[in-house]
Structures are given as structure tokens and as C-alpha cells.
Amino acid sequence: MNFALSAFKKRGWIWILIALFLFSLPLFMNEMYLKILFNIAVWAIITLGFDMLLTKCGLLSLGHSFFYASGAYFSAYAQLFNFHLIPSILIAGLGTALIALPLGLITLKLRGFYFAMATLGLAEIAHLSIRALVLFGGDVGLWLSSVYSIETLYIVAMVALCVTLFICYIIENSKFGLKIKTISMDEGAAKTIGLNTARYKLYTFLFSTFLAGIGGGLAVSEHTVLLPSAFLSSSVSFKMIMATVIGGMGAIPGQLIGAAFVISTEAIFAMYITDVKFIIFGLILIVVILFFPAGIYGGIYRFWLSYSLRKRKKA
């Protein structure tokens, strides 16, 4: 905790100013823009979890849409049983992690490509069976009775994002973080220095799915309609990959940038035909991979580094 305190002492006031600004936005901001900011906060939470699994454990989950949707269903049912917003979102996160536990025990035995395929299969099975077998409302979905104002939702999402960021920052600089970093670099070598990699992969997987569940729970509270096609389709997983890769894999600010980028691009193109957005995303993804292999954040960071080096040389 010491490093967190010292980092806070150094530039704490900037963070407080940013937080105050973000939390005061509902006072003067248009509802439409507030909705976009809410979505960015939700997606930042999800991609932070997704990125942790991807870059710290080296596991690409193509089935995170399943955990996102599972959070949505948990939250929807909790609200239908008259739970308030915040408890229902916590139920969404915990319930999703609970479902992820047996799935993780099975799928985490697989590596790399096979893990990606297994999770993709899992998500597709869930998607099709909910729609075909008319489980949990089937194709029509669930309709929430409780409607919360976008201001309330925005504040809740921002608080959740702040807490998530804080936890991610702690993990990044902790013993746990160092241990799981070794897994993504060389799992065999991590085992030979005594790390029970299976257990640590499971912990990270549970944390990642917990965040996806929280994100799903928040998103459904805003939509108020749970359509399986919107929550369970594989395009949700691809959106996570895009946000992570475009923003910058392995860096916390990169996830914020990625989420902001994907959601705002989506909002701009939502006015036109929705299918256009994936063409645009694809093009942007190619450009980013070619010119900024470390994502937008990585690109900015490298530019800043070379700039400050040049400045130091002159001085």
C-alpha cells in the first residue's frame, strides 16, 4: 500500500480534480453525452478485466460476451426481485464469478489458441441455447421494471470504475501482479520457480469475469431491456478485443483510451447504418496494429519518451 500512498502524495491533487470534474458532469451535461460517458465507464471496467487476463496470464478469452451477458441476466433477475441498483450489480459480479469458477477449472487446462476456441464455443452454446430453448425469456429477452435516471447510473458507474482502477493499480504493483506476470511470459519457467500457475490463472480468470459481470449488470440497468442478441453475440467479445488492442495492451491507461475510442466511434456511427461500424473498426484495427503495435497509449508513451529524451540531451 505504501507505493499507492506515495504515488498519491506526488500527484494526488490532479486525480482529485479529475474525479471532481467527472463526478460533477451530470450537473450540466446533456443526457445523450452522459449516456456515452456511462458506456465508456462500463466498457473501461470490462476491458480492464479482459486485458488483465490477456496480458498477465496470456489467455485470450473469446467468450467474455458470455460473462458480460451472465452479469446482465443476474442483475436483471435481481432487479425483477426488487433488489436495488447497487446490490443487484454486486450480485451480477459475484454470480458471474461463481459461474466462471467451474468453467475456469475446465477451460484453464487449455493453452493459448485452444483456450480461445473453448471459450468461444462456450459463449456460442450459451447464446444459441438461450435463444432456441427459450431459457430466461428466450429471444424476447427480459424487460426490467425499475428504471434509474442516467445521472444515478453514471455516478454508480464512475464509482465502480474508480474502485476498479484502484484495484488494478494495486495489483499491478503487488506480489500477486508480479507472480501472474511471469505466467504470460513463460508458464513452464514460472512453474519451475515454484508457482502454482493453475491456481493463479484461476484467480485472474475469476477477477476478470467478475468485472465483466459488473459491466454487464451496469449495461442492462441502462438498457432496461435484455436482448440476448445484444448481450450474447460474439461481436461483444470482439469489441473487447478491439478496445484492448486499439487502446494499448498491458497498460491501465490504454484500457481507458481503448474503451473511450471504441464507444465514441460506435456512437458516431450509430447515426448511420450499424454494420458500418465493424468495417470502420476493422480498418482502424489494421492501422493501429501496423503503426502503433503497442496501441494508442503505447504510441503516445513512446513519442513522449523520445521527446523527453531529446529535451534532456539539449539541456
Binding site: K175, K179, K181, D186, A190, K191, T192, I193, G194, L195
Partner: protein, 238 residues
């Protein structure tokens, strides 16, 4: 008591018998060398000892306990550490972080304590200057030393070194020999797989020669290197 005892260890890969009915043992504080031509099963023996894969038959007794079925991380916890023939450093971690990882996994200490301990280990092996470097920027001998430092960070009692001197010049080999002698003085037992005869002669108290997965000779370096069977395995029949 013997620290490590192998009883008729056998491992086959498909139709190839990599190791066949191998027995040997090592006393506490001893250094032994495993030598033999390429493909004679030396690395397979190390892989079984470090738990990378289990043997098909036979057993491994470590400090009186049967550890044949243990996984590599469990073996590391009870004091068996290894290095790899082709170094496998954590490419995204600084030298000091890799050593710290080994420390915090095996001991209940804070990151700050781990950092000072890691600095001690790195200065012992002579990597103190490269502390904050990433492995891709290290020279070949430094990467091998890092591999050793990472193994030492798990506080081992038995060290398995897989060709620690491959690709080093003869000056660097001498430095490495001094380093291993230094480490050995802490009371570790060491098994070295090595081709560099200079190092094998200088270090080992006992040499075990493998050929096609079977032990063909065992003894002190003078005896073994004169053995006609060993000469035949290395140079072919006269």
C-alpha cells in the same frame, strides 16, 4: 542419508527409449556431472527430476520421500531448482524482478524485502550492474547467470544445471566454474549436465556417463574418461 536416489528410472517417447533403468544417487553437498553424447537422455533425466514430466516407471526418492509424481512447482517448494539448456528468462521482466518473483513465490516476504534479497543474490553472481536491464539486452553469459540467479532465488537444496556453459568462451567458462564452486560452498548439491570437459573435470566429484539412455560408467573423472566404453560412446568403435 542420500539426498536424492533414482531407482530404475525409465522414460520412453513413442518408440524411443530416452532413459532406461537408470539408477544413481547423490549425497548432500556433492557435485556430480551427467555427460554423454547428444541424445543420450541427459536432459530427459533433468526434466524428470524437476517434474516437467513424470517417468514411465521407476521412482525418485528425495530426502527419504517418494517425489516421483510431484509437479514441478511442488518440487521447487521442497528445494529442487533447475536451469534450462536454452535460457528461458522472463523477457518482459527486469533482471531484478525475475529474481524477486522467485523469492516472493517461495517465501512469505514483502516486495521491499524481496528487492534487497534479490540485490544480494545478484551481486553474489555478479549481475548487480545489470539489475534494471531487460533480458534481451543482456550478453549471452549474463543471460546464463540470470538463469542461475533465478534458480538460486527459490532457495534450493539441489540444483540441476542444464549445460550452464554452452556457448561460452573459455575465459567465461572459468568464471562460471568459480561461480559454481562459490555456490557449492553454501552446501548445495548440484547435478550438472555439461559437454565442456574443462568444466566437468574442474567441478565434479563424480561423473555419470549416459549412452542411449543407459548408464555406461560412473566414477571419478580420471577413471571414467579412461574407460574404453566411454571412449567408444564418444568416438565410435576403434
Amino acid at each position: 542419508m542420500k539426498q536424492l536416489q533414482l531407482n530404475s528410472l525409465t522414460k520412453t517417447f513413442g518408440g524411443v527409449t530416452a532413459v532406461h533403468n537408470l539408477d544413481f544417487s547423490i549425497e548432500r553437498g556433492e557435485i556430480i556431472s551427467l555427460i554423454g553424447p547428444n541424445g543420450s537422455g541427459k536432459t530427459t533425466v533433468l526434466n524428470m527430476l524437476s517434474g516437467t514430466f513424470p517417468p514411465d516407471s521407476g521412482e525418485i526418492i528425495y530426502e527419504g520421500k517418494n517425489v516421483t509424481k510431484l509437479k514441478s512447482y511442488q518440487l521447487c517448494r521442497i528445494g529442487v531448482a533447475r536451469t534450462y539448456q536454452i535460457p528461458r528468462p522472463f523477457y518482459g521482466l527486469k533482471v531484478i524482478e525475475a529474481v524477486m518473483a522467485g523469492l516472493i513465490i517461495n517465501q512469505k516476504i514483502s516486495l521491499d524485502v524481496a528487492r534487497t534479497k534479490a540485490e544480494e543474490i545478484l551481486s553474489l553472481v555478479g549481475l548487480a550492474k545489470e539489475c534494471l536491464t531487460y533480458p534481451p539486452f543482456l550478453s549471452a553469459p549474463s543471460v546464463r547467470t540470470l538463469e542461475l540467479a533465478r534458480a538460486l532465488s527459490t532457495s534450493p537444496k539441489l540444483l540441476l544445471l542444464d549445460e550452464p556453459m554452452a556457448g561460452l568462451t573459455s575465459t567465461e567458462v572459468n568464471e562460471c566454474i568459480e561461480l559454481i564452486k562459490n555456490i557449492r560452498s553454501w552446501g548445495l548439491s548440484i547435478i550438472i549436465v555439461e559437454h565442456t570437459m574443462q568444466a566437468v573435470r574442474a567441478l565434479s566429484e563424480r561423473i555419470i556417463v549416459l549412452d542411449y539412455g543407459e548408464k555406461i560408467a560412473e566414477g571419478t573423472s580420471e577413471d571414467v574418461l579412461k574407460d574404453p566404453k566411454v571412449i567408444e560412446a564418444y568416438l565410435g568403435e576403434q
